[in-house]
Symmetry: C2
Subunit: 237 residues, 2 copies
């Protein structure tokens, strides 16, 4: 019954077949990553329809397809751990959906900005957590990060830069939108992953004080990186 | 100036750099196929969000991704012919969009039915035209058709069959919806491809009478195949 005790000590519902804390942490982390990728795929490909040109639609579609491929990679990893991917995703569905409902882009430019900001924050966030994982899971998380000129972040950055050049009035609107997005994204990260998943997995690895300190450092790093990305676009964070 | 003469004889606008009739026909055909795939990708992945289960969302997402891959294959072929893919798609954008607007699914089941019906009709239609093409283009068209248990048509059929078994009252609604879809799809096929693209490409290959006869035969074949697919689902076509 030690599994059940561990689960109840961390405030989790005691369910038959409860997992050990690390496995539960990993299942939660991969569950939220998978559901995030699936949602991003659906939202991005829906928004693509409102692109100003067919070239933009095709480009955003391609980014959406990569989110789907990431989703499949993560769910395959869950299944290989013997975890049902739908079960792992289900606890995060309501809050990820609520995040998207609170950050509905008003037009194509806001949509670009949303994916630019949230993809980057998610990448940073998961990369930070990746270092705490077993090597196979950490490689999986690393494989989701893209680099180079074809990377989603780079494609979105270039397109945003062009748009801002074409219409300088866009800058103040997108700066405001960027601030709203980062606020929602950090709240989301805090709520979904920190409250639910991290403390469980950190039991016996970090003390509560070390845990708090690491989380504070992580969030200030996420904020700094976001500000740097906004500056690169010439926007006030 | 023979290119321009050929173009004006078939009622096409004479534009600088006008293509010879077969090339124009092929560019039109691949343009409508590409735009159809891009639109299907976007609509399908948007509709996926309303799936009853996460498993269904993932499954519909996967079908949507394959539409995108087909889109990329067709646009690559256009580019290899030296045709700008956006230019080839543009003439068909309004009518394909209008088709989707006229056939907006009321729920997930109508959405499944829509993709089941329209994918199959498009496949039949393009397969019939494929036989008139040069071997490379005809291979491309053939490569877009799927077979086996993973094929979109089969996945959608199985899911529709399950849904109809779970809720027999669905049958009359989906039968009605299927009739509306086939009507819209055939009108669409007639309008977009026959009026615009086929007569041009058939100049010198078929006489107007032979052309009319082939088109009548094609449409009755499309209708027969649709009725057979509805019967397999236990629905009245």
């Amino acid at each position: 019954m030690s599994e059940n005790n561990a689960a109840s000590a961390t405030g989790q519902a005691v369910v038959p077949g409860a997992m050990d804390p690390y496995r539960q942490f990993l299942s939660d982390l991969l569950g939220v990553v998978a559901y995030g990728e699936l949602s991003a795929f659906e939202r991005m490909s829906s928004d693509a329809r409102f692109s100003p040109t067919l070239r933009d639609r095709a480009a955003l579609g391609r980014l959406a397809v990569r989110e789907y491929e990431n989703f499949e990679r993560v769910t395959a990893h869950l299944e290989s751990m013997g975890v049902n991917a739908e079960d792992a995703m289900a606890p995060f569905q309501a809050s990820v959906d609520a995040f998207h409902d609170r950050t509905r882009p008003g037009d194509w430019y806001e949509s670009l900005m949303k994916f630019y900001v949230t993809d980057a924050i998610s990448d940073d966030f998961y990369a930070a957590l990746g270092s705490l994982l077993d090597s196979e899971s950490s490689q999986l998380i690393a494989s989701l990060q893209e680099t180079g000129s074809e990377a989603a972040g780079e494609v979105l950055f270039v397109r945003l830069q062009e748009s801002l050049k074409d219409d300088p009035r866009l800058a103040s609107r997108l700066a405001l939108w960027g601030r709203r997005l980062v606020g929602e994204a950090l709240t989301q990260a805090q709520r979904v992953v920190i409250e639910r998943a991290l403390p469980t997995g950190m039991d016996g690895i970090l003390s509560p004080e070390e845990f708090d300190a690491q989380i504070r450092e992580l969030f200030s790093q996420l904020t700094r990186n976001h500000s740097r990305r906004m500056s690169l676009l010439g926007l006030t964070a």
